[in-house]
Amino acid sequence: MSADPLQGLASVGKGQSTRSLLRVIILALIAGAAISSRLFSVIRFESIIHEFDPWFNFRATKYLVANGFYNFWDWFDDRTWHPLGRVTGGTLYPGLMVTSGVIYHALRALTIPVDIRNICVLLAPGFSGLTAWAAYLLTNEMTPSSSAGLLAALFMGIAPGYISRSVAGSYDNEAIAIFLLVFTFYLWIKALKQGSMLWGALCALFYGYMVASWGGYAFITCLLPLHAFVLICMGRYGTRLYVAYTTWYALGTLASMQIPFVGFLPVKTSEHMPALGIFGFLQLLAFLDYVRSAIPSRQFQTFLWLFAGGTFGLGLLGLVIATSAGFIAPWSGRFYSLWDTGYAKIHIPIIASVSEHQPTAWPAFFFDLNMLIWLFPVGVYLCFQQLADEHVFIVVYALFGSYFAGVMVRLMLTLTPVVCVAAAMAVSALLDTYLSAKSPEPQEAQAAESSEGKKATKSGLRSTSKPVVGVYGLWGKSMMVSALAVYLLVFVLHCTWVTSNAYSSPSVVLASRMPDGSQHIIDDYREAYQWLRQNTHEDAKIMSWWDYGYQIGGMADRPTLVDNNTWNNTHIATVGKAMSSREEVSYPIMRQHEVDYVLVVFGGLLGYSGDDINKFLWMVRIAEGIWPDEVSERAFFTPRGEYRVDGEATETMKNSLMYKMSYYNYNNLFPPGQAVDRMRGARLPEVGPTLNTLEEAFTSENWIIRIYKVKDLDNLGRDHASAAAFDRGHKKKKVTKKRGPRVLRVD
């Protein structure tokens, strides 16, 4: 042991094992930070499942845990999409549910009794720790500097772009998919670098897991072939690439076809075609390679390119013909909207209506990535320095990912990993330069430069043709390092602030501030769902807009007409038509679908923006897409083109079921003539709407949720309007013929 404690302290971190230990500790701390920064919502509210889709995943997980895997696989759910039902087992990505099911059973086997809900709530934060680790591994493949990996792990752990989909309670496919994405990429790089079949097979295994978890697997399916193609174009074809790619493709495709929801899509749809095409192309290249080794020839290179190019062109032609002839499916709508950006708006209102399918404005990028967004190009530029195979991957991923993130807000999620990796490379390059205590001697440096300057480097970037000298002054180093420390500090503060303010709201429970600054919880959703659970028949069918389908299924446990799995556009349009038509039209629709209760969300009292009147135009649009003669979006706008809800609203608007249900009895809350919609800032007419075919069943504390019961047919055989009029005490109108001036018909 060293006698001097200072020297002993300095030597810590020099040895190999101490370094590994430190690295493990740092990674563990990063994982801890990643997990704990996602717990805001649990601490503020409670351990609750968030938003919409997670409620379905939660319900499916409960079913899996209760009924076992095989029943889950064959699950036909007759409580959604009434009366159609849904083949749930065959139309979902089971990875998430199976993961939490396995964790649940493992913990039970260890005699640790944990509620399945808590596993579901905490799954996403748990996996974010793993994602940070995967980012560390991926970055270490890119650069020899070990600090880059740790920085990447840190960035990945707390970048809001990833936190947005992985806070505690956000129990969605992305929760585990981002870890699988990054880890699959790491395994791919590993397989490619070593040309190893083992790593390729591992890559395929995790790719299969990814396919089982998230529809975003198509991102991998397109990115890896693209990377391979770019490498081939750069003349870097070799056995390593061949082994890695073919192993991944063959095994990975087989694995992906085991998922019922995916099935034969990998050989049918166009978004899987690049992978198949590159697979065939590689076989051709390998064949030509073999021929070349057998028949030596000088012109072989030209022949090879011509042959390969010709075959590729022919294959592309065949693909186009097969697509146009209908042998293989055309681009699916969601995917197509990524390329032709105007497509969705015109043809598929249901896709355009989802807010996460909107394009991304620049503040969203900065909000989600902060300083990483400008460090990102620096890192990509650094990749061009060496431009080994793995750096090409980062470049391709960066371009591809930033395009898609620009087109669709939700794809920010797939961009975040590469941003973190590239930015970590940039920061670590800066830190490595400016943190080193060694300062160069000017004479030596100049001598070295003059000797090396003569050896002109042909390849590489122009800016890196000179040798690295180092930084001279201590003041410069300390200035840069302290500035970097400030930026990093701002980044951490930013991430925490964004997570705490923007991404930690369960949206099932709302929070508002009282005048004295204390927090007030608005719990209308759960109040209403609880009411449904307690007061309605178990098989009472609830009609609502599709946004609330999963929540009703999950929290109220009642059958719904439509839900967030928007697979049947016509059925959704039916609900849209019922909501946007007059009562006389809507009532038969509701009777035909055996609707017992109708649920609407109304934010007028509280000023809650996510309510149904604000979403109403989408219902109209979707309904208009199916029944253009009966529903017209134009009729909901005033002649001056305004969308109004007050006295000036159009007759169609005032007579629509949605309007009536939202504002029914609302004016009784206010003094006569003073009713105000606080959301839209509109003064409502003095006489509220009347409802004939529905009766109010429940209205939550803040009027956010209103539930109406659909009246049964009248006992006396009257129509509902006259029955309601009779109940209101109006005398039955004498049926008298209007006697206008007599007109002689001349036709």
Binding site: T341, I373, V378, Y381, F384, G473, G476, M480, W497
Partner: protein, 331 residues
């Protein structure tokens, strides 16, 4: 609007009815159908319009009321006109016998000012579909059905399906788009020219293609474009700049979900400057052999980085007023 058209058809019943009475519905249809066969859609004037749409009629009339003259500056009219002509021509040619009993006509504002006035039309183009009032396909109401071009110029196919929907149990001749020979030929010429040029220029182009710096520049520029919201501008067609209401220019849109074209360019430029200073600090500065130059460069790039980042934060704070972080000097 509906009231006005009703009034109009009432007046049509009255005064010009005497004019229409000269010819029977069948004669009128044959006359205009033969006109349409020579050149569809039939170009109508005031009187022809009134004659064609007079009741009783046992045929359908589809009239496009448009304003093609450049004085009126109707962009939509000019965009839709070729589609309309294509629709009318392929319908009429596909139905030479007149089995669908439909006449396509165009009424330009310059020829039919009175019709526009009597219909009270403020905008153009408007497509009116007059259903038959007598005969096997007679509609309940003789009022014309109006097609509004609310979402821009429509393709002929969309209008075709709209018309077909209102004419049930009748033949609907499909649209036949003529092959655009000019376009094919020009594509072929351009393509072969491009191939020849690239073949000739290949030795000069190859070094550029293989140049890593060029690729790096292209990559970085595209990344900056995408991350500064260029695709949003492209999809949403945002304005380049907007006035601030006091005669000046407002460079930054209010609100988190909005942006202007110029705004994204400013942001992209700022990202570019930040990235450039990052690259210089990481790559160029440590490669400078002269201590003095290096010190100056370090100070300059470090300073630029700090100031621009501070500016970026302050702009972001303007977009998102609740944002609490800032760096000097733009606090």
């Amino acid at each position: 609007m509906r009231l006005l058209t009703t009034l109009l058809s009432l007046t049509l019943l009255g005064a010009p009815g005497s004019l229409a009475a000269k010819k029977s519905a069948e004669e009128r249809f044959q006359l205009y159908h033969s006109k349409a066969l020579s050149s569809a859609p039939v170009k109508l004037g005031d009187s022809a319009y009134r004659e064609l749409t007079s009741t009783p009629r046992d045929y359908t009339v589809a009239v496009l009321l448009t304003a093609m003259d450049s004085r009126y500056g109707c962009q939509l009219c000019r965009e839709f006109q070729p589609e309309w002509e294509l629709l009318a021509r392929s319908w009429t040619n596909g139905d030479k016998q007149g089995e669908s009993r439909t006449v396509f006509g165009t009424l330009d504002f310059t020829d039919g000012r009175d019709v526009f006035m009597s219909l009270g039309l403020q905008t153009a183009p408007v497509l009116m579909l007059f259903p038959p009032t007598v005969g096997p396909h007679a509609a309940v109401s003789s009022d014309p059905i109006r097609y509004d071009f609310t979402s821009g110029a429509q393709a002929a196919e969309q209008v075709h399906s709209w018309i077909a929907r209102h004419l049930p149990d009748r033949p609907h001749p499909p649209i036949k788009r003529p092959i655009n020979w000019m376009r094919w030929i020009s594509t072929f010429v351009v393509l072969s020219g491009g191939l020849t040029a690239s073949y000739v220029a290949w030795p000069y182009v190859l070094p550029v293609i293989q140049n890593r710096t060029v690729w790096a520049a292209v990559t970085l520029i595209s990344i900056l474009l995408f991350t500064s919201g260029h695709m949003f501008n492209h999809i949403r067609n945002v304005p380049y700049v907007a006035g601030d209401g006091r005669g000046g220019i407002s460079y930054f849109a209010n609100g988190f979900q909005n942006q202007y074209g110029l705004e994204t360019q400013i942001v992209a430029a700022m990202y570019g400057v930040l990235a450039l200073s990052g690259i210089s600090l990481a790559i160029k500065v440590p490669r400078m052999s002269d201590p003095k130059t290096q010190g100056v460069a370090l100070l300059a790039w470090g300073g630029i980085l700090f100031v621009v980042y501070s500016l970026l934060l302050s702009i972001f704070r303007q977009k998102n007023p609740g944002y609490p972080f800032s760096l000097p000097p733009f606090m």
